[in-house]
């Protein structure tokens, strides 16, 4: 009877060993499939941009007659597309240098104003005690859901006709022309950015240690002083994240610019001009490819160099709530 024991143990050993080996093989196979899948997804995600990028350096007749993948067998390189799309003088050529400057002029104040106002408001909502504080915060948070589309028509008439109630003018029309129209765009972007900006900064500021604030209060520091000397430096990463956010949003925006900057070459940003080129000259690929890259390059640089902050901001805004 005792002889049955050794084979049994051998048997269990074998059955114990086999699954582990199988598991190991399976794991290796799994990880290989996983790697392959990841590479396939990464390639699929990158190829469209890459194709456009390659095309933008190919001569016009080449872009229009052969696929961009032919570049690798028959490399022909030119900067003429960029030259044409940036500085060309004909009406069809894009004149993007001009629109590039418009984008820049639109973006800088549209980033600065909302961040400044929102950080003041977020501080008050996080660290000052007053009645109705929670209600104000919830209302501002809830305003995030108002689609831009709802604000466009009335805001446009606010700019062009002012506000009057029963025949009495409360606020005069802005009567802007030319470069002054930038002010309208700044105003609109600032308003639309505020709910999210307050929400994001409030999240950061309310997480600052309470002891720190109380110690400062005991030392006799006033709210403005605490705000400037303690809170602002501490939430600098959040300000950076918000700045990148707002920059990308304003630089990439089409709808607000289309309505408040108009289509004129004095104030319209790159996106408006590009959309126009895509619509009217949808097959002038030498201009569209180069033009798209002119509009992409600045946000891409900002994004790649400040990605870390951007991701932090994204996570603070979306996960922590």
């Amino acid at each position: 009877m005792t002889t049955t024991t050794p084979p049994a143990t051998v048997g269990t050993q074998a059955t114990e060993k086999r699954p582990t080996r199988a598991a190991r093989v399976g794991k290796r196979l799994n990880s290989r499939i996983a790697t392959l899948a990841a590479i396939v997804i990464a390639v699929v995600w990158t190829i469209p941009t890459f194709g456009l990028f390659v095309s933008s350096f190919r001569p016009e007749e080449q872009i229009k007659t052969t696929g961009w993948w032919n570049f690798f067998t028959d490399p022909q390189f030119t900067l003429a597309n960029y030259q044409d799309v940036l500085f060309g003088q004909s009406a069809s050529s894009g004149q993007l240098a001009n629109y590039f400057i418009n984008s820049l002029v639109i973006t800088v104040p549209s980033v600065l104003f909302p961040i400044a106002f929102a950080s003041l408001a977020a501080y008050a909502l996080a660290w000052m005690n007053f009645r109705g504080r929670d209600w104000v915060y919830i209302s501002i948070f809830a305003l995030q859901i108002v689609p831009l589309q709802m604000a466009l028509v009335p805001l446009l008439s606010f700019f062009s006709r002012g506000v009057s109630l029963g025949g009495i003018t409360l606020l005069p029309a802005w009567n802007l022309d030319g470069a002054q129209n930038f002010a309208q765009v700044w105003f609109a972007h600032t308003c639309f950015a505020l709910p999210f900006a307050v929400f994001l900064l409030h999240n950061f500021m309310s997480q600052l240690p309470r002891d720190l604030m109380e110690a400062a209060r005991v030392d006799g520091a006033t709210h403005p002083k605490i705000f400037r000397t303690i809170v602002l430096p501490l939430v600098a990463p959040a300000l950076a994240a918000l700045g990148i956010f707002q920059f990308l949003w304003v630089w990439n925006d089409l709808l607000v610019a289309l309505i408040f900057a108009g289509g004129s070459d004095v104030t319209a940003p790159l996106t408006v001009r590009l959309a126009e080129l895509a619509g009217t000259r949808g097959n002038e690929w030498q201009r569209l490819t180069a033009g798209a890259f002119v509009s992409i390059v600045v946000p891409l640089i900002v994004f790649l160099s400040l990605q870390r902050y951007f991701v932090r901001g994204l996570l603070a805004g979306s996960v922590k709530g």
Binding site: P48, W69, V108, M150, L254, P299, L315
Partner: protein
């Protein structure tokens, strides 16, 4: 290179004015905030001095008026939100009950038009397809990818590649994808990647953006391409936040990667998953740029946001445009209420 810098100077002047306004407004506000409490402090001191000199009882210490202060901190934001969002939203709601020129009340006519017109029904249907497919596919792709590259070599690079489209404008993205979908006649060489693939597999090139309903799906691909990176970043952070001991315990129990995903990973990142789906849904409902740049809403591809722009700003139908905007708002409300309730529950649990 001939570029007229002189012609640009008014713009830079305007930018300068903008920056001056910024400095004056913010600087002024901060100075004011410093000066006002200093003024009250001085007055109180004077009162105390006067009281002690005349032997009268000291004035009762007033409670610090934080409310007054908070008002200054909040004033610019609240004012701008009222002018820029609250009042316009109310006015748009009113306009939606008026005719195209915003002169006469028409009751619910604009809403009736919205559900009666075939073209608009198509728009509503398209919007529904968008809002179902984009969050679903983008979140799935983002989740899949973040699981695949988690702890892999070159994880940071791999993530940047998928995340990159977030930095590209919708207009730029639309041009990138129009190039992929580009069409040449059968006898010509294809320049669009998609048609080239079809041709090399023995098929015939197609006018992708003209065929409904396929074209709507192809536009949705663009949105998915942009949003998957967002989903990936948030979900990847959530996966990394799963406590290591839970994962280790499961591994010791001999759980397969598949079971690990369904029983450990997925339940742990549920809150992040909800946030991602909700955020992408809202962004999708408002999508405008992609449709406008690729097809301009033609060939049955229009969505609510695009149609609203057409009605209000191209056809001068303010009433109908406003009704579409209000409808959009109504669609977003339940999603946001859902999110707020979720966040509150999370807070209570956390």
């Amino acid at each position: 290179m001939n570029f007229d810098f002189a012609a640009q100077s008014p713009k830079f002047m305007m930018l300068l004015w903008g920056l001056v306004a910024f400095a004056v407004v913010i600087g002024g506000l901060l100075v004011l905030l410093d000066a006002v409490p200093a003024f009250f402090a001085r007055r109180r001191e004077a009162q105390l001095v006067a009281a002690s000199a005349s032997g009268a009882p000291l004035p009762a210490r007033t409670k610090p008026r934080e409310g007054l202060f908070a008002l200054f901190f909040l004033l610019p934001t609240v004012l701008l939100l009222l002018i820029g969002l609250v009042v316009p939203a109310i006015r748009t709601t009113l306009l939606s009950f008026m005719d195209g020129s915003s002169q006469n009340w028409v009751g619910l006519d604009n809403y009736r038009w919205m559900f009666a017109e075939d073209a608009i029904e198509r728009v509503l249907l398209n919007t529904l397809i968008w809002v179902v497919l984009v969050p679903l596919v983008a979140t799935t792709m983002g989740l899949l990818y973040s699981v695949l590259v988690d702890k892999a070599r070159l994880e940071v690079v791999a993530k940047s590649l998928i995340f990159m489209p977030m930095a590209i404008s919708f207009v730029g993205a639309s041009i990138i994808w129009r190039f992929v979908y580009a069409y040449r006649g059968e006898d010509q060489e294809q320049i669009g990647l998609l048609n080239q693939i079809v041709v090399s597999l023995g098929g015939e090139p197609r006018q992708w953006l003209l065929d409904s309903p396929l074209n709507t799906l192809l536009l949705i691909v663009i949105m998915v391409w942009i949003q998957a990176g967002f989903a990936m970043v948030v979900l990847s952070a959530a996966i990394k936040a799963i406590p290591a001991d839970i994962v280790e315990a499961a591994r010791l129990d001999g759980v397969s990667p598949w079971q690990m995903f369904w029983q450990i990973t997925l339940p742990s990142i549920r809150p992040a998953l909800i946030v991602v789906v909700v955020t992408i849904s809202i962004a999708t409902l408002k999508v405008f740029d992609i449709v406008r740049t690729t097809t301009n809403g033609n060939y049955d591809t229009s969505v609510i946001a695009n149609e609203m722009y057409n009605q209000a700003f191209r056809y001068g139908q303010n009433g109908q445009g406003s009704a579409l905007a209000v409808f959009l708002f109504v669609l977003v409300i339940p999603i946001v209420i859902f999110q707020i309730r979720n966040l509150r529950r999370q807070r209570r649990e956390g």
